[in-house]
Point group: C2
Chain length 549, copies 2
């Protein structure tokens, strides 16, 4: 069985037909959901691209692997999906975005060249790179945000799109008054991108994926990682006007959220993107474009499914559809992601396992508390391995797919490191304290902030919209304490004992006895005489010869 | 300035003259204490050789580096003293014991050969090896405990001590009735070891250290790491009978400790070494030998000090004397180390800094809560560096040596992983749950056990002997909760964000704006026009040529 591990970027859990969106029809996502299981409570371990992805790729919490924000390098030697799957005879390929930053200092310290196979994998979080393009070709007075080469820009140039950065000028810009109307500006979100639809980012990567599959031999996991529907919010025709302001729901926000908010939440409410999404005209421009981008993703997913059917490989391919985090889109007075409301931290997760063991659950939903790190464990088990649970902290989802009800976690954790943001400076918080933790037990969601601030608490049963921060009052101390207990338990987890498995340890027990380590004997009668045999015998005399001083 | 970082193995904090021992005179330890500062509340991060040492060498907690027990390899790439000091132009040498187990699997994964300089350092926890000998040449029906070469055994053989393992047959054995009287058996502890005193382990390593210093150039830190007074408890003449049963204090133990003990403590009370040390004849044999071993260490320390004086280098050499953990010697009904009573987890720590900045504190004691991980930070600062506090979790002791009173930690942490012991199996605890945590705030000491057991609590002011486990009752819930709060705070510490320093992060802030990442604009007026310049301009038309599909 091969694995098609498809990630969309910034795809909200509720912007799919199968998730109940009232206007957005996504027949191809729905088709996978009908073949597989839709997990309705899937949480990412950090609601920000880079860190979330490193959690997916390592199967470990952000605090465990340390790549806690975009462009914090994943430390050299940290084990990834590639390490685990290759051991099981499964190749592990990347097509698209990872937001991985190589630990260049660590690689240099260990003498690893990025040109070597080992070094290249270290630099690409364990993947072999079929094509890497993070889709963030922003440029400004200080140069490019991403200094690597852009296969997508190279593609566009080969197709006759001119200029230094056709990603910006064509794929992510429309035209107004014969001027470039950049997709960076929300007022342009309704313009059609100035690009042939088949040359835009999602079809481009889909075509590359089909090329990959056509040549692939052996058993593989392919991480197909689309930049869209991530901003810039702009999409080519015909997707640019499939949706209009009539499809834009009112923002899910409440005045009570602005009353004495938690300091960190308050800071985010006041940031530039939040201010923008608090304007109706922004939501009315952006959300239809966002929906168009998703619609395009769905159509391109259809191409992939059709290819699998046409080649009769659907029966041998596990398909996973998910995202690295959501998008507030103006809900809770916020834009972007970063915090822990459902719009940000919950992701779509659909898993299709072609094997007969998964027949009992096809087309069902599962509301278990799932963490994104569970996929790494799932893939290892799907590849026929035993999950190395001294390294991978997630848990295989395969039992759920088989229709079993395994003992399962009672809380999910997510983390956010805002040390690089201006909010940390504004709040007077040192980088090491600019960290947030979410604990969610399926009903109550606690957010702890380091640095001496109070927590936040939401009751998702009584208040599914998460408007009322119960930690403002005193009535929920018992729940707060219970969730803090869970966070403390998690804080004591064993996350770095990665060089000895549970089985290794059991096998080590008592072994020192047979190797003559016996610091407990009075006279030797305490153990079988075979253990002391080497320590007994007639005394010998040293031969003092000319070597003696 | 050079650093002589001297470690003894299993040296109890209170078995030194300067620590107030009533019978054991250690004029050379005392001499260093008179020149420097004696830290009277120094705690190791794990009371077991291998794990404690990896904490010293990394400056990180056991849960942070993951080498939580003897022979759990330190993961490849984990940064050590060697990495930090070499960057500052200071060499970092090993002479003696580390108990390091190389992460061979990790090295192979990264293509590191143990023969390369980088690989050799990885395999030796960052040190360049002048001489490595762990002094545990136990052997039995299953072979050697330590499968490396033994420079000490090679030395003995070169001196005419014959047989396969003269470490066992001569250095750690006496003679009874013309038979080898192994030091493994406590009844033989009073015999003189069958070896010329100058060939025994402590003088041997001292001589190697003097040779090292005689040839050393440049600036260096030398970790001189003696195996003694660690078992086997046997010492050559004249040290074997310097002390007798009249110097053996009564065991510090109380019947109340045997009444309904904490399950883990109860299991340790019943283990083989505890049973042995519960016998008076064991203590009366072992403790005089242990004292003799320390006396020999003291004399050999005198040789080192004399050498430094004779070469006029005392004024350029920082000297640190410490241990990896203590030894119960029958106190609390226990033998060995492993748990968190003061006898096990507290260590001697004497630091002499030759520089004038340390003049104000010479000959004083300091009762700050010190952790063994503080030495790595101390050495980095002593070498002229800024402590990389995103990697090293300890704090420099130099402010104390200068007579300052820095803001300081309010609690110390120690950990113990007993997953490899038979106790874990007996208690029905899985390897991942066989972990203990100590939190000590200077008065109350809480011990938390994973796996659903109750904690232990001691009040060291009311009960300095730690006989009365206050967690058996309900009266100390507030203290228990407070210490659990400290443990939870520690559990949330930032320990793996090792690829970005605090300064790096501050420097990253706001940098994406200048690189064209602007996902918050409605029309571009929100930012200076230089930031959007590259996104504006007359629209261009794609040049569709023969490359188009």
């Amino acid at each position: 069985m091969n694995i098609l591990f498809i990630m969309y970027d910034q795809l909200r859990f509720d912007y799919l037909g199968c998730a109940g969106h009232p206007h957005l029809k996504t027949p191809h996502f729905d088709r996978v959901a009908a073949m597989g299981v839709q997990f309705t409570n899937a949480y990412v371990q950090s609601p920000i691209c880079g860190s979330s992805r490193m959690c997916y790729y390592t199967g470990r919490y952000a605090s465990s692997h340390g790549a806690q924000w975009n462009n914090f390098p994943l430390r050299v030697g940290e084990q990834t999906l590639g390490d685990h799957l290759r051991k099981l005879g499964m190749d592990c390929w990347l097509l698209g975005k990872t937001h991985m930053k190589a630990d260049a200092a660590g690689m240099e310290r260990l003498g690893l060249s990025p040109d070597s196979t080992i070094g290249a994998r270290q630099a690409e979080c364990g993947f072999d790179t079929w094509i890497r393009d993070d889709g963030l070709w922003g440029y400004g007075p200080d140069g490019y945000y991403d200094e690597k080469r852009s296969p997508y820009n190279e593609y566009l140039k080969s197709k006759g799109y001119d200029g230094e950065n056709p990603w910006a000028d064509y794929a992510n810009a429309g035209i107004t008054d014969d001027q470039i109307a950049s997709g960076w500006m929300f007022r342009n979100a309704g313009e059609p991108a100035n690009i042939a639809e088949q040359d835009s980012e999602t079809p481009w990567l889909t075509s590359r994926t089909i090329e990959f599959m056509e040549q692939a031999t052996g058993t593989w996991c392919a991480h197909v990682s689309f930049i869209k529907p991530h901003w810039p919010y702009i999409v080519p025709a015909p997707y640019h006007n499939m949706f209009g302001r009539e499809h834009v729901p009112p923002a899910r926000r409440h005045e009570v959220e602005r009353e004495n908010p938690h300091p960190v939440y308050g800071a985010y409410q006041d940031n530039k993107v939040a201010k923008a999404f608090q304007r109706d005209e922004v939501r009315e421009k952006v959300i239809p474009a966002y929906m168009g981008l998703i619609k395009q993703c769905d159509d391109q997913l259809g191409r992939l499914l059709d290819h699998l059917e046409a080649t009769d490989t659907l029966k041998d391919t596990m398909i996973v559809l998910t995202s690295d985090h959501g998008d507030y889109l103006g809900d809770h007075w916020l834009g972007e992601k970063d915090l822990f409301h459902e719009q940000s931290v919950k992701v779509p997760l659909i898993v299709y396992d072609p094997r007969s063991t998964a027949h009992p659950t096809r087309g069902t939903t599962c509301d278990a508390l799932v963490e994104s790190i569970d996929l790494a464990a799932t893939f290892v088990e799907a590849a026929g391995g035993k999950v190395p649970d001294h390294i991978i902290e997630g848990r295989s989802l395969l039992p759920w797919l088989r229709g079993e009800t395994p003992d399962w976690r009672t809380f999910a954790i997510s983390e956010y490191d805002y040390s690089c943001t201006p909010h940390a400076a504004k709040l007077g918080v040192e980088p090491r304290d600019a960290r947030l933790f979410m604990v969610f037990d399926g009903r109550f969601k606690l957010i702890h902030a380091e640095g001496g601030m109070r927590p936040m608490l939401f009751d998702l049963i009584e208040d599914p919209d998460e408007f009322h921060d119960l930690a403002k009052g005193q009535a929920h101390q018992p729940q707060i304490e219970q969730l803090y207990g869970m966070l403390a338990q998690w804080g004591r987890r064993m996350s770095q004992r990665v060089t000895r498995s549970e089985d290794d340890i059991k096998a080590m027990r008592g072994k020192s006895l047979g190797k003559g380590i016996l610091p407990f004997m009075y006279d030797g009668s305490e153990v079988d005489e075979k253990y002391t045999a080497k320590y007994r015998g007639p005394v010998r005399q040293r031969h003092v010869g000319d070597t003696d001083a």
